[in-house]
């Protein structure tokens, strides 16, 4: 199982340069320091529907994105700077403009590669597509969906990744197993059946372990801890 990349700041910069070369030509690097790469400008939101492709971009938002050293284990911060989105919890934007665009560790588990281009064209663009839909008079929360605030939304997202029920107990016992390097058939199954893994969910657990490495399980657990406090 591949470990998350440990990128140097130069490697992060190179990934950013790949992003702004073609996919997001109106973003620019505004700051490059030892601990982060900061970009800002207009983010193009591209359509998902093939029918809409000939129209080009659906919308553009003024943004500032901060990619910290430690990416991808640590998530980029995204700010909407154009003031087009009300700073409201219901719209998933904090008073300082920072955007709650996704449950990061869940994306880490699902992403086919954890590059900056993937983050921007994936969850970040998804977030702004959600806002675009809403700004066009459609109730995006109902039409596309949203996570509930705080821990319940987090548990929902985790439960989808872990294929378990969205309770703290179930999620925690799954993470406990997945944080270990190996999966042992004789351990008690995290599903709550009281059986051994080997005679219960082993096949499914091995499949999940293929996506959720111990490292990602650890990041998931830390986030859960910080939300539980």
């Amino acid at each position: 199982m591949a470990r998350l990349a440990k990128l140097t700041i130069e490697e992060i910069r190179d990934e950013v340069l790949s992003l702004i070369a073609f996919d997001q030509p109106d973003l620019n690097i505004i700051e490059l320091s030892d601990d982060k790469v900061e970009i800002s400008g207009r983010l193009f939101v591209m359509p998902k529907s093939p029918e809409n492709q000939p129209l080009g971009a659906l919308d553009q938002f003024e943004v500032r994105i901060v990619i910290p050293i430690g990416f991808p284990a640590i998530e980029p911060l995204v700010f909407e700077t154009g003031g087009r989105i009300e700073r409201e919890l219901d719209y998933h934007v904090n008073p300082n403009g920072s955007c709650c665009y996704s449950v990061w560790p869940a994306w880490l588990a699902d992403a086919k590669d954890q590059s900056i281009s993937e983050v921007v064209s994936g969850p970040i663009m998804d977030f702004f597509r959600w806002q675009y839909v809403r700004l066009n008079g459609i109730d995006a929360a109902t039409a596309i969906g949203e996570r509930q605030h705080y821990i319940s939304g987090l548990l929902d997202a985790y439960a989808e990744v872990l294929d378990c029920s969205p309770t703290q107990k179930s999620v925690s016992s799954h993470l406990k197993v997945l944080r270990r390097k190996w999966l042992r058939s004789r351990w008690r199954c995290p599903c709550g059946s009281r059986k051994k893994i080997g005679v219960c969910c082993e096949t499914n657990l091995r499949k999940i372990k293929g996506r959720v490495s111990p490292e990602i399980a650890e990041i998931m657990q830390e986030k859960l801890n910080s939300q539980s406090r």
């Binding site: 073609f22 000939p54 129209l55 008079g137 705080y150 939304g153 987090l154």
Partner: protein
């Protein structure tokens, strides 16, 4: 070319088609080099005994020819005239003259007024103005054996053992070579067919797929009957657009990025994309990553002869390296912005780079698409419908 255009990809395909050499002219060019080839092979030819073979090289062979920006300008048709022989019985000068006699005879036998020009490495035949092209003929000897030895000696063992990429290597003449007039074994080497074979490998899956499509479309009875030049892959198309973009940005500026660098880096970056939009995205995002750094020297290595650096002039003329990057940035910006606008609202910068003249040939095909005015809310609804059906839009969350 009467198909209507209803998206970005169809527009760019049509533009590339419009800057490509017209099929008729391409067929005429083939006739021309077949005709000169047959002339060289006639029994009274001075090189008859040496079994001469002629074949195209360069962009004609790669399928990346583009029209000159001014329609009055001519196409370059580069061909190789390979004769049997060895550098231990011929000097470069002797080979050049041996072929030159035949080239001159051919010109006078075919009523070509201007006498062929004896250039540094080639003979040039200037056809009459109405013919729209001139032909550069490169005299050459087969050189596969020494070419392989050279590669292996330089440590390129795998390449040296690759038959397909080395079997057509050549030794060529050069008037500025110090031993031009003496028998030596240090002739310049060249390998245009090897390069073309490498280029073909970079796009082989898509090339074959497109040939099959022409057969499915009943334009040809079988894949073997489809001439190579009737197939244009997204790689070839992208290179044509990028070369045109370069041509209009630089004109005759000697610091302009050269075609062989654009072609090589594009083919290296290309990874089998099936349409010109995806191909341009990959190429423009990744092409500069294939420039190697060694200290302060930059390398764009010839894939079939890594000892040859296509960027070897960059050290002497640093402006050329700078201009390559300035051009790349401009091409990224111009093509990327097009994809972010409606397909029929082509940015003026891109029109200027691909020329107004070409745009005017293609734009009527865009008007053929029936314009359906869609309200912003309808567009947004279509997005929602698609996401509802296919999923894949991550959900926002407040932590």
């Amino acid at each position: 070319m009467t198909k209507q255009i209803s998206n970005h990809i169809e527009f760019l395909d049509a533009m590339a088609d419009a800057i490509d050499i017209p099929t008729k002219l391409h067929e005429k060019a083939i006739d021309r080099y077949n005709s000169i080839g047959e002339y060289f092979q006639r029994p009274t030819s001075g090189i008859f005994d040496r079994d001469p073979v002629t074949y195209p090289q360069g962009s004609f062979l790669l399928g990346t020819v583009i029209r000159p920006v001014g329609d009055a300008d001519e196409f370059d048709l580069d061909i190789v005239c390979q004769v049997q022989g060895s550098d231990n019985e011929l000097t470069q000068e002797e080979l050049k003259q041996l072929v030159g006699i035949e080239v001159n005879d051919y010109a006078s036998a075919n009523g070509i007024a201007k006498s062929p020009k004896d250039g540094r490495r080639c003979w040039t035949i200037e056809y009459s103005k109405s013919e729209k092209f001139h032909m550069d003929i490169l005299p050459a000897l087969p050189n596969a054996h020494r070419y392989r030895e050279f590669l292996i000696e330089k440590g390129h063992v795998g390449l040296g053992a690759d038959v397909e990429l080395t079997e057509n290597a050549l030794a060529i003449t050069d008037k500025e070579h110090e031993n031009y007039a003496s028998i030596t074994n240090d002739w310049l080497i060249s390998n245009p067919r090897g390069y073309a074979a490498w280029f073909r490998q970079q796009q082989s899956a898509e090339f074959d797929r497109r040939k099959s499509l022409l057969v499915e479309d009943r334009q040809f009875a079988s894949v073997d009957e489809v001439p190579d030049y009737r197939v244009k892959t997204p790689l070839q198309r992208a290179i044509q657009l990028l070369k045109r973009h370069r041509d209009t940005m630089y004109g005759d500026d000697p610091d302009k990025p050269i075609s062989i660098i654009i072609t090589t880096l594009s083919a290296q970056a290309y990874s089998g994309e099936q349409n010109i939009g995806d191909a341009l995205r990959t190429i423009l995002t990744d092409m500069d990553k294939h420039i190697a750094d060694e200290g302060s020297v930059r390398y764009v290595r010839n894939p079939v002869n890594p000892e040859e650096n296509f960027a070897d002039k960059w050290e002497e003329f640093p402006a050329r390296e700078k201009e390559f990057h300035r051009w790349l940035k401009a091409a990224q910006t111009d093509f990327s912005h097009y994809f972010r606008r409606p397909y029929d609202s082509v940015p003026s910068d891109l029109v200027e780079r691909l020329t107004q003249n070409t745009f005017d040939k293609v734009s009527p095909l865009m008007a053929l698409a029936s314009p359906t005015v869609v309200s912003p809310k309808e567009v947004a609804s279509k997005e929602v419908d698609y996401i509802t059906e296919h999923g894949g839009n991550s959900k926002p969350w407040q932590g």
